[in-house]
């Protein structure tokens, strides 16, 4: 039986949104951790390691996330791991995020002028003190806008997990659209929810930027 798209159905979409947020958070944490490793491997003065990392970054950034999701979804079971849509999505998105976070953070680290290192050295700071008190605070401030910008991308990209059958906001809207036969209203509602999350995030980023700028 076809029913109307009602307030309760919007509630269903909102409930599904927690999986969108959870997936984005997981990818953020997993990708953040891996991204740190990527950034470090990229700047350590070991040539073969640098090349390997560059290859990894190009492989991830040069292929579509949708493809990565499918490869993980169908590929991991071949190695004896029983993988559901959630695990595949969380893994693929963490790896996807790591390539982007790694490049963003490497760029931020390297954009701190060399003179800052020299100034730190001439003040008698040790290597670790320079890194902790001079370089990293500045690099963090530089990295905030692109990092949050990418997190917005990540939230939007969680929608692709719908295509391997993970029930988050987009998959829930597909189900709801089929049940109510009101695709326009349902998908506009879903777009509205995504908009609130992503637009909110962008504003937090601007706020954070301003605050960190003052603290300078």
């Amino acid at each position: 039986m076809i029913r109307e798209f009602a307030l309760a159905d919007f509630g269903y979409l909102l409930l599904a949104t927690r999986w969108t947020i959870l997936l984005a958070l997981t990818a953020m944490l997993g990708g953040g951790f891996l991204g740190l490793v990527v950034a470090i491997c990229r700047v350590l003065p070991i040539r073969p390691l640098n090349w390997l990392t560059v290859g990894y970054i190009n492989l991830i950034q040069g292929t579509p996330l949708l493809g990565q999701l499918f490869v993980f979804f169908f590929g991991l079971p071949l190695f004896g791991l029983s993988v559901d849509a959630w695990t595949a999505a969380a893994l693929a998105m963490s790896i996807y995020a790591s390539a982007f976070f790694g490049e963003i953070w490497r760029g931020s680290l390297q954009s701190v002028p060399l003179r800052q290192w020299e100034a730190g050295a001439s003040l008698g700071l040790t290597y670790r003190q320079r890194l902790a008190y001079v370089i990293i605070p500045q690099a963090v401030r530089i990295s905030i806008p692109p990092t949050v910008g990418f997190i917005v991308q990540l939230v939007k990209n969680t929608s692709l997990a719908a295509l391997i059958g993970f029930i988050e906001l987009t998959r829930a809207s597909q189900i709801m659209a089929a049940a109510t036969f009101a695709p326009l209203q349902v998908y506009l509602a879903a777009a509205g929810i995504y908009f609130v999350i992503c637009f909110g995030l962008s504003h937090v980023s601007q706020l954070l930027e301003r605050r960190l700028h003052v603290a300078r």
Binding site: G62, P64, K156, S159, L160, L184, S202
Partner: protein
């Protein structure tokens, strides 16, 4: 692990792969051109003093940039028929991709124009160039040079994003993967091969873009 990887059964479908590749290229290039035109118009409109022209453009940019392409695609393909606008899958894909890229390129081009120091225009005028000449020889060249890298990487991202339109059944490369999988049951091999073939496209597009950059901005550096 007792799994034999059989790539040969996938490669048998080279005709399907090739036709998918062709549509992916077509979709990417057309969306790039249309998106670029929308971007130029949007950037110009963002700079006008009339608020009734400026605000709708800002709203368009923010709405598109803060919602997923997949949902935009569903709105165009499944939602618009409610309003009497019916598009087939390939058309809907092109419309959604162009609208999506249009918002991003509006933002990139606007930033490029704004990043140009005002003194450049004043210097041009002080040298006796007309407004048109100042735009042609000073603003345009520098603005395009400034936005080119960002625009090029946005184009590559768009090309990768065309894989998403397989979700509504547009018959591009990624859709062919699903087709071949249904014939061979070689899910892993199919998706690995297709995903990797996007890498070739990425490398090709990046090479092309840097070649153009070199030809336009490096080979004859001053103007």
């Amino acid at each position: 692990m007792e799994y034999n990887f059989i790539f040969r059964s996938v490669l048998r479908f080279q005709d399907e792969i090739l036709s998918g590749l062709l549509l992916t290229l077509q979709l990417s290039v057309s969306a790039m051109l249309i998106g670029l035109l929308i971007g130029i118009a949007g950037a110009v409109l963002s700079g006008v003093p009339q608020p009734w022209l400026r605000h709708p453009v800002r709203a368009y940019v923010e709405l598109i940039r803060n919602t997923p392409l997949l949902v935009q695609l569903f709105i165009v393909f499944f939602g618009l028929p409610t309003l009497g606008i019916r598009l087939n899958a390939n058309e809907a894909a092109l419309v959604a991709l162009s609208i999506n890229l249009g918002a991003y390129s509006t933002e990139i081009i606007r930033a490029g124009i704004e990043s140009l120091p005002r003194s450049q225009i004043e210097a041009g005028r002080a040298l006796g160039l007309t407004a048109l000449q100042t735009f042609r020889y000073i603003v345009l060249y520098q603005a395009v040079k400034a936005i080119y890298p960002a625009l090029a990487s946005q184009f590559v991202l768009l090309m990768l994003a065309t894989s998403i339109v397989s979700a509504i059944g547009a018959t591009e490369l990624f859709h062919q993967a699903a087709f071949i999988e249904s014939r061979t049951y070689r899910s892993f091999e199919v998706y690995t091969l297709i995903t990797l073939s996007y890498l070739l496209l990425t490398v090709g597009f990046r090479g092309l873009f840097s070649l153009v950059y070199w030809a336009v901005f490096v080979r004859r550096p001053s103007r």
